[in-house]
């Protein structure tokens, strides 16, 4: 059997083991003797799954951490969200640019009109 096919089959079995414990023991059923390579690997996978049984954190820890996280969120959370802050920043930059352009235009115009009003001597 090609390695790639073997890998795919093993992978499917592992996914099955991870999703549901109820089907344990059924994954190797129906595999003929000619597939002993696959069968033996499936048996190893099932043993690994059995060795890594889920452990539960203590309820006190889960509750305490939840409380601490909410307290931390309340203290540190900025009042405006990131997208709003970004919007404000972009708006302020645009306004600043427009204002700068306006001032420059005003100065140029003022100078031009001052030059025009200046009497020509001589």
């Amino acid at each position: 059997m090609e390695d790639r096919v073997l890998q795919e089959t093993m992978d499917s079995q592992a996914n099955g083991l991870s999703v549901s414990d109820e089907n344990q023991g059924l994954h190797t059923a129906g595999i003929s003797g000619s597939h002993s390579e696959l069968e033996s690997l499936m048996v190893v996978a099932e043993k690994v799954k059995n060795a890594l049984l889920p452990v539960e954190p203590s309820p006190a820890f889960v509750r305490g951490l939840h409380r601490n996280l909410l307290a931390m969120a309340g203290r540190n959370r900025p009042r405006t969200p990131a997208y709003a802050r970004r919007g404000l920043l972009i708006g302020a930059a645009a306004l600043g640019s427009a204002l700068s352009l306006g001032i420059i235009a005003y100065v140029i115009r003022a100078r031009a009109s001052a030059r025009a009003e200046t009497p020509v001597h001589g």
């Binding site: 795919e8 592992a14 690994v48 452990v55 951490l65 996280l69 909410l70």
Partner: protein, 191 residues
């Protein structure tokens, strides 16, 4: 609406709403704890690193953008970094004392009649414990989380096909280990 879309909405809301972050926390705390527990080998450090993982996630959730990486993979990646720092800080490369920790965690629940099966598992646990850290990590992610290969690849910095290949090779090594262990037992009995 798919569960992925639903989760994306939750994550977006969690960026501004602490209560929604609390929902995500409740959804993932046990899974992250399991991962960290099997990577560190004790409940005390598992609690510490799980807490650090969620503090970090809360502080940085605004930076999270899906881009094909689910929130769960992002969380596992944070946990993975916390565990890596933990190992570096302590300079102890004994990544998982699986044989010790699993016996300790199940001592109370396994009845006497299952001692033989437990011994068989002990052989496997020792074999897993002898694997390189990366392979141990792969087995833990594969069997204690609901991550896909692509997501495991994102956590471990490898491609999906590399994960499949590594998993296959890991099982081959374990099978060898188990077979040689069995042969040794037979030799002892015969001798």
């Amino acid at each position: 609406m798919s569960s992925e879309e639903n989760e994306e909405l939750l994550v977006e809301r969690a960026k501004t709403d602490p209560a929604t972050f609390g929902l995500l926390y409740q959804r993932y705390v046990s899974r992250i704890y399991n991962y960290v527990y099997y990577r560190t080998g004790n409940h005390h450090d598992a609690e510490d690193l799980t807490a650090r993982t969620f503090y970090y996630a809360l502080s940085n959730i605004e930076r999270y953008q899906s881009r094909g990486v689910p929130f769960s993979a992002w969380l596992y990646r944070i946990a993975h970094n916390q565990v890596a720092n933990w190992h570096r800080d302590r300079s102890r490369r004994k990544v998982i004392a699986l044989d010790e920790l699993i016996i300790a965690s199940h001592r109370r629940v396994i009845p006497e009649s299952l001692i033989e099966a437990q011994e068989e598992r002990g052989v496997l646990r020792k074999a897993i414990g002898r694997l390189p850290p990366e392979r141990q990590q792969l087995l833990i992610l594969k069997f204690t989380t609901e991550l896909s290969n692509a997501e495991i690849g994102q956590v471990m910095g490898r491609s999906e096909s590399a994960i499949k290949s590594l998993y296959h090779r890991t099982l081959l090594v374990l099978r060898e280990e188990l077979a040689s262990g069995t042969d040794k037992d037979k030799d002892i009995e015969m001798g």
